[in-house]
Amino acid sequence: MNIIGPDALVFGVDDVEACSQYVTDYGLEPKGNGRFEALDGTAVIVLPKDDPTLPAPLATGTSLRKTVYGVADQQTLDAIAAELGKDREVKQLDDGSLEAVDDLGFVLGFQVTVRKALSLAAEVVNAPGSSALRPVNTVGVQKEASPKPRSLSHVVYFVPDFAKAEAFYADRLGFVTTDRFHHVGPFMRPAGTDDHHTLFFIQTPPHMQGIEHFTFHMGGPTEVMQAGTNMVNKGYQSFWGPGRHLFGSNWFWYFKSPFGCNMEYDADMDLHDDNWTARELPPGADNSQAFLFQYREKWAPMGPPPGK
């Protein structure tokens, strides 16, 4: 099933103004009607909680109301409609997309992807021995920069039964498990992308079901650091990071948000194909990151020389 990845996340929130300002400061482009886009057209949609166009919320009150997947073509949409139609209602919405509910109660949308092909360089580093270097006389970093999120990367759900979730996405939608944390849950990618994960589950008690975090891909680690520093300077509060994950190798920096979930920046995620064998590790601090740093205000060792 040629699902490419999440095209949009739809939220119903208490404070539309705060959430809209937040995602704008995060670097998404306001497009009107609550839509905020990354460079490739993937988006976050921010609507008031009681907006009549929103699907019903989960009983837990999580602000995520719908995860919309982009698929390769109409044929894939038809295949999804046929597959999910076997045991549940599949709505055909006016915009041509499909809507159905997964085995845990998360509302899903499917549409022919809106993703625009991007042609942008990744961060290039200079290193002795490497043939891929920045062109000579090209500087690597600017003092001020506002890097833009490129593409909606992944969403993480708290779920009451990760095995049930994994089975649904694998058996019904063709997702592949790339790695897993024992008793916590799998990292999964749909068949239409090489990204290490677009979806990750964390096992929790049922009253927690909902979104844990979501993130967009940045152009490289420097962009994660600079975008995160901009967030700190605007008064937003870090939750975890910056650092680099082990599973997926992605650089990360998480911030708390008025959505009642964390929002992350990530960069340089591993790519996998069907030759990859999923690894499994126990969860915990040691296995979830290669290293972790904490933000500190700019400082330099300067001042008068020490007295005699």
Binding site: D14, H207, M208, E212, Q237, W240, C261
Partner: protein, 124 residues
Amino acid sequence: MRQTVPLCHLDDLADGSAKGFDPQHQGSDTVFIVRSGDKVFAYEDKCPHYRGQTSLPWRKDAYLDPFGETIVCAAHGAHFEIATGLCTAGPCLGESLTRVPLQIRDDGCVLAELNDNNVGGESP
């Protein structure tokens, strides 16, 4: 060891608002006060979800929902009662924020009784 530290004046706290403080100069807020009518409540700025390793707000002083009715941890949306600190929804359901005892002097000065370990949230 316990110490009594002045945090602010009652007039600095608008009704229905919250404010964070860093009385022990940790570099980020470790205690917050919520004012509700003529009552004030103070708690350590540590969410019980990850055993107190993280702080609550998404922006400085953003401890309350937009209606000023409940304390919220922005990381995963836990809700806590203003008057008791009890988590009524979200990951740490049934657990509570840690109360910080306050003294209010006649001149309106608000003091907190702190343990030396009232340190703030770090990343997990």
